[in-house]
C-alpha cells in the first residue's frame, strides 16, 4: 500500500469573482508504513489536500492513487475510500453525538456495513488503542468526559474503521501540555501497532520532528519541500521565508551559528543540541574544571 498523488489542482468557487486556487499541481508519494508530517501556514492548502485524499473534495485535475486504485475515478465507491482512509478533523470532539461512548465509536464501523460482532470487537479494540478503558467508559455519555478523553474517543471512532491510511489534522490543538503529550504518545503507539501510513498536520515543529519519517511542506497550494525532518529543518532560512518555525532546538542552534558559534545545523532535539554544545565547549569545560 502506498499513496501516489499526481498533479492535483483544486480551485474554490471556480468561475465566481472570489475564486481562489487552493492546490496547484501537487504531486508527492508516500511509501507503505511511512509517517509523514505536513507543515505549512494556515491557508497553505494542507487541509484541502487531506480532504482530497479522503474523497471529500474532488480535484479539478490530477489523480490520487491509493495502492493501485485512482480514487478520483468516477466508478470508485466512496464507502471504499472512507474504509481505507481515515480522516480525523481538527477538534474532532465536536462531532460526537451518540448517547454512549460505545455507540459513538461504532458509528463508523456500522456505516461500513460490518456485522454486529465485528463492530463490537473493533470498538473495544479502538478504545484500547487510544489508551482508554473500555469497561469504564463504554456505557457513559461522551459529553461527560474530559476534553482530552473526548478527543481520544473521537479519534477511536475513526480508528475503529481500521483505515490503511490515518490522517490527523492538528490533533493536539487547544490541549494543555499533559493532554498534548498523551495524544502524541497515543499517535506513536497506534502507528507502531497498526503499521499504517500516518499523515499528521501540525504547527508544532517539535512533534513533527519527533514523529515523522518525512516532512511535506506546503506553501500557497504547492509542495515547497519534501524530505526527512533533518533535510527539511536544515533549511531554516527558506522555512522562515515561508513564515514557518524550526523545532526549538534547531532554532536555538541556528541562532548560535548566526552569532558565529561553530555549531552543527542538523540538530532536531534538545538532547542533540546539548551534545553539540558540549562537544564545542569541551575545552571550556576543562578550563572551568581546572
Amino acid at each position: 500500500m502506498s499513496i501516489e498523488v499526481k498533479n492535483i489542482t483544486h480551485i474554490y468557487s471556480e468561475g465566481m469573482p472570489y475564486e481562489s486556487v487552493a492546490l496547484q499541481e501537487v504531486s508527492f508519494s508516500v511509501a507503505d508504513g511511512e509517517f509523514v508530517g505536513i507543515i505549512g501556514h494556515t491557508g497553505s492548502g494542507k487541509s484541502t489536500l487531506v480532504q482530497h485524499l479522503n474523497g471529500l473534495l474532488k480535484p479539478k485535475s490530477g489523480a490520487i492513487f491509493i495502492g493501485d486504485v485512482d480514487i478520483t475515478g468516477e466508478k470508485v465507491l466512496m464507502r471504499d475510500i472512507r474504509r481505507r482512509i481515515g480522516l480525523v478533523f481538527q477538534y474532532p470532539e465536536y462531532q460526537l453525538f451518540e448517547e454512549t461512548v460505545h455507540k459513538d465509536v461504532a458509528f463508523g464501523p456500522i456505516n461500513l456495513g460490518l456485522s454486529e460482532e465485528e463492530t463490537d470487537h473493533r470498538v473495544r479494540e479502538a478504545i484500547g488503542l487510544v489508551g482508554l478503558d473500555y469497561q469504564e467508559l463504554a456505557e457513559r455519555s461522551p459529553f461527560e468526559l474530559s476534553g482530552g478523553q473526548k478527543r481520544r474517543i473521537a479519534i477511536a471512532g475513526v480508528i475503529a474503521m481500521k483505515p490503511e491510511v490515518l490522517i490527523l489534522d492538528e490533533p493536539t490543538a487547544g490541549l494543555d501540555p499533559r493532554a498534548h503529550k498523551e495524544i502524541l504518545d497515543m499517535i506513536r503507539s497506534i502507528h507502531s501497532t497498526e503499521k499504517n501510513i500516518t499523515l499528521l498536520i501540525s504547527h508544532n515543529m517539535n512533534d513533527i520532528a519527533a514523529l515523522s519519517d518525512k516532512v511535506l511542506v506546503m506553501e500557497r497550494g504547492q509542495v515547497a519541500m519534501m524530505g526527512t525532518p533533518r533535510e527539511v529543518f536544515s533549511k531554516g532560512a527558506e522555512l522562515k521565508k515561508m513564515g514557518l518555525a524550526l523545532p526549538p532546538a534547531a532554532e536555538f542552534m541556528d541562532r548560535m551559528k548566526e552569532k558565529g558559534f561553530p555549531a552543527e545545523t542538523s540538530v532536531l532535539t534538545k538532547e542533540e543540541a546539548l551534545e553539540a554544545l558540549l562537544f564545542q565547549l569541551k575545552d571550556n569545560r576543562e578550563q572551568v574544571v581546572q
Binding site: 480525523v88 478533523f89 462531532q95 458509528f107 456505516n111
Partner: protein, 266 residues
C-alpha cells in the same frame, strides 16, 4: 444553492439610495407598499413602475440581479395568478367543464400578479440597498416609541445583530461537522425520506451543541463588556437625517399624491 437566492441579499454600492438613512428607506418602502394597495387600475401601476424604475436606476443595482430574486417566489406568483384567473365570476371567455376563465378573472389575475411582483421588487430594493446591520438599527429606532407599550425593540434588534454575525459561523460549522461525519462513512444523500431524516441526527446534535456553546460563550463575553440590555446605552453611529432624506421624503409625498390623484381622477 443557498447562494443563488438573491432575495433579501445586500448588493454593495455607494449610490444615493444606498446612502439614505435606513429609516427613510424603511418608511419609504412601507409607503410604497401601501400605495400599491391604493392603486385600482393599470394606470396607477404605471405610476408605481415609473417610481420603482427611477429608484432602481439611481441605486445602480442591475435589473437582472433584482429579477433573479423573484425566482424563489415564482410559484407563489403563479399560484396567485391561477387562483384569480379561475376563481373570479363574470363574463366567460373560455371554459373546460368547471374550469372557467372569465374576462374579469383574466383582468384580476394580471392585476394581482403585477401587484405582487411590484410588492416583492419594492421590498427587496430595501434589503438590496441597505446593509442588514443598518436595517437592524433602523428598525430598532423606528420601534423605539413602542417600547413604552412593551415592544422589546432593542432586544429584537440585538437578536437580529447576533443572528447576522453568527449565520456564517454556523454555516461553516455545519460544513465541518458534515465532512467529519462523512469521513466516518455517514451518507446524507441516499435512501428514502425517513432514512435521510435519520441520517441528519449525527449532524444536528453536534450542531445544536455548537450553537449552545456559542450562546453561552457570547453571553459571558457580552456581560464582561458591561452589556445590560438597552437601557442607558449610546450608539457610535447615531443615525441622522440629512438633506438627502428630506429630498427623498419630498419625492415620496409627490409619489403618493400622484397615486391618489390617479385613483380619484381617472
Amino acid at each position: 444553492m443557498i447562494r443563488d437566492i438573491t432575495l433579501g441579499q445586500y448588493y454593495p454600492g455607494e449610490s444615493w439610495i444606498h446612502k439614505l438613512d435606513p429609516r427613510t428607506k424603511i418608511i419609504g418602502t412601507f409607503v410604497f407598499l401601501v400605495a400599491l394597495f391604493l392603486v385600482k387600475d393599470f394606470w396607477g401601476f404605471l405610476v408605481a413602475v415609473a417610481g420603482l424604475a427611477l429608484v432602481i436606476g439611481i441605486s445602480r443595482v442591475p435589473l437582472s440581479f433584482i429579477l433573479k430574486g423573484l425566482k424563489p417566489v415564482f410559484l407563489i406568483i403563479l399560484f396567485t395568478f391561477v387562483i384569480n384567473m379561475f376563481m373570479t365570476k363574470g363574463e366567460t371567455l373560455v371554459g373546460w367543464g368547471f374550469l372557467v376563465i372569465t374576462r374579469e378573472g383574466l383582468y384580476n389575475a394580471f392585476f394581482m400578479g403585477v401587484r405582487l411582483v411590484l410588492l416583492i421588487i419594492g421590498s427587496s430594493l430595501l434589503t438590496l440597498t441597505t446593509k442588514p446591520i443598518k436595517l437592524t438599527d433602523g428598525i430598532e429606532n423606528l420601534l423605539g416609541p413602542l417600547k413604552k407599550i412593551g415592544v422589546p425593540a432593542h432586544e429584537l434588534a440585538m437578536m437580529m445583530t447576533i443572528a447576522l454575525r453568527f449565520i456564517p459561523t454556523l454555516l461553516e460549522e455545519t460544513d465541518k461537522i458534515m465532512k467529519a461525519q462523512m469521513a466516518r462513512g455517514a451518507d446524507f444523500e441516499s435512501g428514502n425520506l425517513l432514512k435521510r431524516a435519520k441520517s441528519l441526527v449525527p449532524l444536528l446534535i453536534p450542531l445544536f451543541i455548537s450553537a449552545f456553546r456559542i450562546a453561552q460563550d457570547l453571553a459571558m463575553a457580552m456581560e464582561a463588556r458591561c452589556y445590560n440590555g438597552g437601557e442607558n446605552r449610546t450608539r457610535m453611529n447615531a443615525m441622522r437625517y440629512s438633506r438627502r432624506d428630506f429630498l427623498a421624503a419630498g419625492a415620496m409625498i409627490f409619489f403618493v399624491v400622484l397615486i391618489v390623484m390617479e385613483r380619484n381622477l381617472i
